[in-house]
């Protein structure tokens, strides 16, 4: 059975007579400038931004799940990335790529304007989309943004606080990831020792 690939054809429709934008048959879209949206988000608090992004991400996740169907659990990294990155590209939130740092899943967004509010919005959208499509409680932690590349780490809720502490201590995202794995191994060895 061939895997359903992402087909962006006819996904965005602009009805000039009615003055409406629709995306893949969903409700209408509003085409706004990125800087204006960033300023609006910057003026809002983080919860509002997180909620705004979660709403968008949930819709994205739904569409991914509808396209992949039951094969979403066995979908390869490349296939899921194709669908998730396509949705993100249709929204104008840049190009999405995946990095695997050991066991850590790092999503990289490239081409997103350097604005903290937009980065927060993108993080919220991705988290919600992954959560909606794969039914996993995911916490997205911004690792770093180097040369227009935004790296977002997908970890559990329990690890987000620790990672933020390490980042606050000045560790680089590489060290954070290394330490994340070491801590995991130590905890695992300690757990085996106790058993």
């Amino acid at each position: 059975m061939s895997e359903p690939t992402f087909d962006p054809a006819q996904t965005l429709r602009i009805d000039l007579s009615r003055g409406q934008l629709t995306l893949m048959g969903s409700s209408g879209r509003l085409l706004v400038p990125t800087e204006s949206l960033a300023e609006l988000l910057a003026a809002s608090n983080d919860e509002v931004v997180a909620a705004f992004g979660a709403a968008i991400g949930t819709d994205v996740g739904r569409r991914i799940a509808e396209r992949l169907g039951s094969a979403i659990e066995q979908a390869s990294i490349e296939l899921y990335l194709q669908h998730l990155g396509g949705e993100l590209a249709l929204m104008g939130l840049g190009s999405l790529s995946v990095e695997r740092w050991g066991k850590a899943l790092v999503l990289c967004i490239e081409g997103l304007e350097a604005h903290d509010a937009l980065e927060a919005l993108a993080s919220a959208v991705l988290g919600a989309a992954v959560q909606r499509s794969l039914s996993r409680d995911v916490a997205v932690v911004k690792l770093a943004k180097d040369g227009g590349l935004l790296r977002l780490l997908l970890v559990g809720r329990h690890a987000q606080a620790q990672i933020e502490q390490w980042q606050a201590a000045g560790l680089s995202y590489g060290d954070v990831l290394t330490k994340l794995h070491q801590s995991t191994n130590n905890e695992n060895s300690g757990a085996r020792g106790q058993s």
């Binding site: 066991k103 794969l134 329990h158 995991t184």
Partner: protein, 477 residues
């Protein structure tokens, strides 16, 4: 006679035999050629007529001889006085009894069977013609018209190459063949076995191998000198003056092998030497079969076993320079017996080793004792009872033998060396060199011997969800 001469004779014999197998026409022509080549008188025109028994084969030579015979009808002159065995042998073979009449004018030949040709060559008595016949130049065979003579009868293809070349050379020769007097030819005799008296040895000229094909050299010689028998081989000397003539008893020669005339050519000399060798005394190594069984020579007697102690003493030469050692001076060396406690004396206990101080050079390996396992006297007692120091140069045979046959294994209590106890038994070769046993202590098993460290398994997520789950599991308690 050397082996080369014998080989030559054998080769000649083979040729003669081969020639005997040839048709009579060829042999006759060969005999005539040989006779003509030696005396220069015979020509192809003088070939004897062919017998009627072989008309085909005889037709060709006769036809060939017919034009050749035109210039001269002189009869076939007998060959000159030559004692060449080759010529005589060829003539004897060619002149078979059936052809004797045809070759009546040829040399008188004693009929002998071909088998004994080699030994009967000397029987040939060649008559010397008083006058040399005139030399007639014969026409070459090639000038014959092939139309008149059948090709098969020509016999040209049957002739050997050597014969054809010889005939052609003979035909092309323009100068007449001069008569060669055998007496004028100096002969070099290599064998001293002759029947001539030794008086003729003094006048033996320096021989040189004559060549029948060099009549010029023979003709240029001075007045013919009488042939003198060469000196005997035993009497030939190179540095010393010739000895006085001594009458030498002629070698035993059978009457059949008697040589009527001295050898006039090298071939005759070779024949004479061959004959002499054949009649020579048999080698001493191989006794003749008629001598009977030989008395076995007893093998060399084995050296007799020495019956007495001094029966086979080495000779002074074998010993060479013998240095006698001085007798030892001083009283003989005595060893004091150790005083053992009564408890040990009651029971047969193993002999203990005495402690040897370090300053004394031991003549045997030192055994280390474990003080905790001492059974006998203490170290102090041993130290006080140390026997007087022996001279390091004392021979080993004076020391008491070590009565050690069995070695009791030490208990593995400590890694230190333990005392080795010896039982009181007859000393053996293995007990003299007792090994020192050092046991290894036990190893405390506080930790497991092996700690297997698992290798890190590489994480290869097969799906996005798997990777997500792995990432979500980080720092998960």
């Amino acid at each position: 006679m050397n082996l080369q001469g014998i080989e030559r004779l054998q080769n000649l014999l083979g040729r003669v035999e081969r020639n005997a197998k040839l048709p009579r026409t060829r042999t006759q022509g060969l005999a005539a050629f040989i006779g003509a080549s030696t005396n220069g008188a015979a020509t192809r025109a003088d070939l004897p007529p062919k017998p009627a028994s072989s008309p085909q084969t005889a037709a060709a030579p006769s036809a060939a001889a017919a034009p050749l015979a035109a210039p001269s009808a002189a009869p076939l002159a007998p060959p000159a006085a030559t004692n060449s065995p080759l010529i005589a042998a060829a003539a004897s073979v060619a002149n078979a009894p059936a052809l004797r009449t045809a070759t009546s004018d040829a040399a008188t030949i004693v009929s002998t069977p071909p088998e004994s040709l080699s030994s009967d060559l000397l029987e040939i008595d060649v008559a010397v013609s008083p006058e040399p016949p005139p030399v007639v130049r014969a026409k070459p065979v090639l000038e014959l018209e092939p139309e008149d003579i059948p090709v098969d009868d020509l016999g040209l293809e049957d002739m050997s190459t050597s014969e054809a070349e010889a005939e052609a050379a003979f035909a092309d020769e323009e100068q007449p063949i001069e008569d060669i007097d055998v007496d004028e030819i100096a002969v070099e005799v290599t064998s001293a076995i002759t029947s001539d008296p030794p008086s003729a040895l003094a006048s033996a000229p320096e021989a040189s191998a004559p060549e029948a094909s060099e009549p010029e050299a023979a003709a240029a010689a001075a007045a013919p000198s009488p042939f003198t028998a060469p000196p005997a081989l035993d009497e030939l000397t190179f540095s010393e003056p010739p000895p006085a003539p001594v009458e030498v008893e002629p070698p035993p020669v059978s009457a059949a092998h008697a040589v009527s005339e001295p050898p006039g050519s090298i071939d005759a000399a070779i024949l004479a030497a061959t004959e002499a060798q054949a009649n020579a005394a048999e080698p001493a190594i191989t006794p003749p079969p008629e001598s009977g069984p030989q008395v076995a020579v007893p093998p060399m007697a084995a050296p007799a076993m020495p019956t007495a102690l001094g029966a086979n003493l080495p000779t002074a030469e074998q010993l060479g320079d013998v240095i006698e050692l001085e007798q030892a001076s001083g009283p003989p060396i005595e060893l004091e017996a150790k005083s053992e406690p009564a408890s040990k004396r009651a029971e047969p206990k193993p002999e203990e080793l005495e402690y040897v101080p370090e300053d004394v050079v031991p003549s045997r390996p030192v055994l280390v004792r474990d003080a905790a396992q001492e059974v006998g006297p203490s170290a102090d007692e041993r130290g006080s009872a140390t026997p007087p120091a022996e001279s390091p140069a004392a021979p080993a045979s004076d020391l008491p033998p070590i009565a050690a046959e069995s070695i009791t294994a030490a208990k593995p209590t400590s890694p230190a060396a333990r005392e080795i106890e010896f039982e009181d038994e007859a000393p053996t070769a293995s007990s003299v060199l007792a090994p020192e046993v050092v046991a290894r202590g036990p190893v405390a098993a506080t930790r497991p011997v092996a700690d297997v460290i698992a290798a890190a398994r590489a994480f290869r997520p097969q799906s996005f969800l798997e990777l997500l789950d792995a990432s979500l599991g980080l720092l998960k308690k």
